[in-house]
């Protein structure tokens, strides 16, 4: 969990160019971290790449906050990379 959390946060900081302190569990990508809908699509692609998973669109739509992403990846990743 901690490793996934660390990596997810790192990706968010890099993709959305935000301060690490802003990336709290409840932070919403679109409402709090300045992302638009296309930024979120790209963010999900980065998660897929980093954790070697495929996130179907219907699941991706439900990933709205930092916590959503960490929980989803923790449940579905094959150990991460």
């Amino acid at each position: 969990m901690a490793a996934v959390e660390e990596k997810v946060k790192q990706i968010i900081v890099e993709q959305l160019q935000v301060d690490e302190a802003e990336v709290t569990p409840s932070a919403s990508f679109q409402e709090d971290l300045g992302a638009d809908s296309l930024d979120v699509v790209e963010l999900v692609m980065q998660f897929e790449e980093a954790f070697d998973i495929e996130i179907p669109d219907e699941d991706a739509e439900k990933i709205k906050t930092v916590k959503d992403a960490i929980e989803y990846i923790d449940k579905n990743a094959k150990g991460g990379k």
């Binding site: 993709q15 959305l16 160019q17 296309l38 930024d39 699509v41 790209e42 692609m45 897929e48 495929e54």
Partner: protein, 415 residues
């Protein structure tokens, strides 16, 4: 009463410099911007050099997150627009925003992004295509990004007429102001096609110089040893403004745009008729719209790209239009592409800027590498050294694939 249109700002980026003053000093010194390509590995390419923009950092103009969503031609357009806007002193406010428009085109658009995303798709399937692929690559997004960044809410357009793109952008923007649809237009073009498909594509047409062992002397318009154009990149942006609007805010006026002519060859996809009839009619239409006689033009910044056919054809068209004024060598002609390379869709913007600096400084920049004038080219091409001259009216030519032509006429500004 006819609305007059003046130029109140210049922003230029190309291989010889990243600002208008830097470019001007390099042109007067006859400096070439051509060198081996650094953007990609040229192994296997028949052409291995180009006129690349150097030391340009998009992060000087846009933050990192946004910069990733733009092809290089958009970065270059933002860089040139930044200089032009600073130069003009124009502030876009709630009061004037809807009267300020943008007209910035590109001949090619985002080949860099198209190639990258196509490779990603071939390697990983369609799910690997970035959601920013389309808005990063399409041609009108330079105009779109400029409007978003500066809050310009007036007319927003982009031309894509190959190497005539930015002459058309400036000419059409001039008409938009003249008609009263806007008071200010941020106008010009941008290009960044030094990519494997860009260079490979032009090389496949045998359109490029292959003087790989001597890039600096490869582009030699009107010279008998010319062997093709050299691909350049960059952007040229002008701030066009209605005269009274410019005066009311105390803007520094650098020139007036007084003529614009267009034509089509209706002949061939890439070639032009030997008599240069299309070029002739574009220049003739520009003079007509400016109400000038041919002998009133002091300087022509020629399209002349250093192709064997093109330079001779343009010379013949000028000879036909300007007659004795041209053959007596009173008309001064130069091709600054000899140093900047060919900016394709950005050429008209860059060269409009250079033409204006010639009027401002009363100096004609030279045609570099002109050692042995082709006997087919019979005019005064200002070989290798700049020339001081009394310049009141100057014309800038652009001709593009598809047989599309445009000419702009500028007048020296005096209060």
């Amino acid at each position: 009463m006819q609305r007059r249109v003046v130029v109140t700002g210049l922003g230029l980026v190309c291989a010889v410099g990243n600002t208008a003053p830097e470019i001007w000093s390099k042109l007067l010194a006859g400096k070439s911007g051509m060198a081996p390509i650094t953007a990609f590995d040229t192994t296997g390419f028949s052409v291995t050099f180009a006129a690349e923009v150097k030391n340009f950092d998009p992060l000087d103009f846009v933050d990192k997150k946004e910069s990733r969503k733009m092809a290089r031609f958009i970065h270059l357009a933002l860089g040139a627009t930044h200089e032009a806007m600073e130069n003009s002193g124009l502030k876009i406010t709630d009061q004037n925003a809807t009267r300020v428009g943008v007209h910035i085109g590109s001949g090619i658009g985002g080949f860099d992004i198209i190639e990258r995303e196509h490779s990603a798709m071939l390697a990983g399937g369609p799910r690997k295509i970035s959601p920013f692929f389309i808005p990063a690559a399409i041609i009108n997004l330079a105009a779109g990004q400029v409007s978003i960044r500066y809050g310009a809410k007036g007319p927003n357009e982009a031309t894509a007429t190959a190497c005539t793109t930015s002459a058309h952008s400036i000419g059409d923007a001039y008409r938009i102001i003249e008609r009263g649809d806007a008071d200010v237009m941020i106008a010009g073009g941008s290009e960044a096609a030094i990519t494997p498909m860009g260079i490979g594509g032009f090389a496949a047409m045998r359109a490029l110089s292959t003087r790989n062992d001597d890039p600096e002397h490869a582009c030699r318009p009107f010279d008998k040893d010319r062997d093709g154009f050299v691909c350049g990149e960059g952007a040229g942006i002008l701030i066009l403004e209605e005269l009274e609007h410019a005066k009311a805010r105390g803007a520094k006026i650098v020139a007036e745009i007084i003529g614009y002519g267009m034509s089509a060859d209706a002949f061939h996809i890439t070639g032009m008729p030997e008599d240069g009839d299309g070029c002739f009619r574009a220049m003739e239409n520009a003079l007509k719209s400016a109400n000038l006689r041919p002998e009133q033009i002091d300087y022509v910044n020629a399209h002349a790209t250093s192709t064997p056919l093109g330079d001779a054809t343009e010379s013949k068209a000028m000879q036909r239009l300007f007659g004795e004024h041209a053959t007596s060598h009173k008309l001064l002609v130069s091709s600054t592409k000899s140093m900047t390379g060919h900016l394709l869709g950005g050429a008209g913007g860059l060269e409009a800027g250079i033409t204006i600096m010639a009027l401002m400084n009363q100096i004609v920049p030279p045609t570099a590498n002109l050692d042995n004038v082709d006997p087919e080219c019979k005019l005064n091409y200002i070989a290798n050294h700049p020339q001081n001259a009394k310049l009141d009216y100057a014309l800038s030519n652009s001709f593009g694939f598809g047989g599309t032509n445009g000419s702009l006429v500028f007048r020296r500004w005096e209060e």
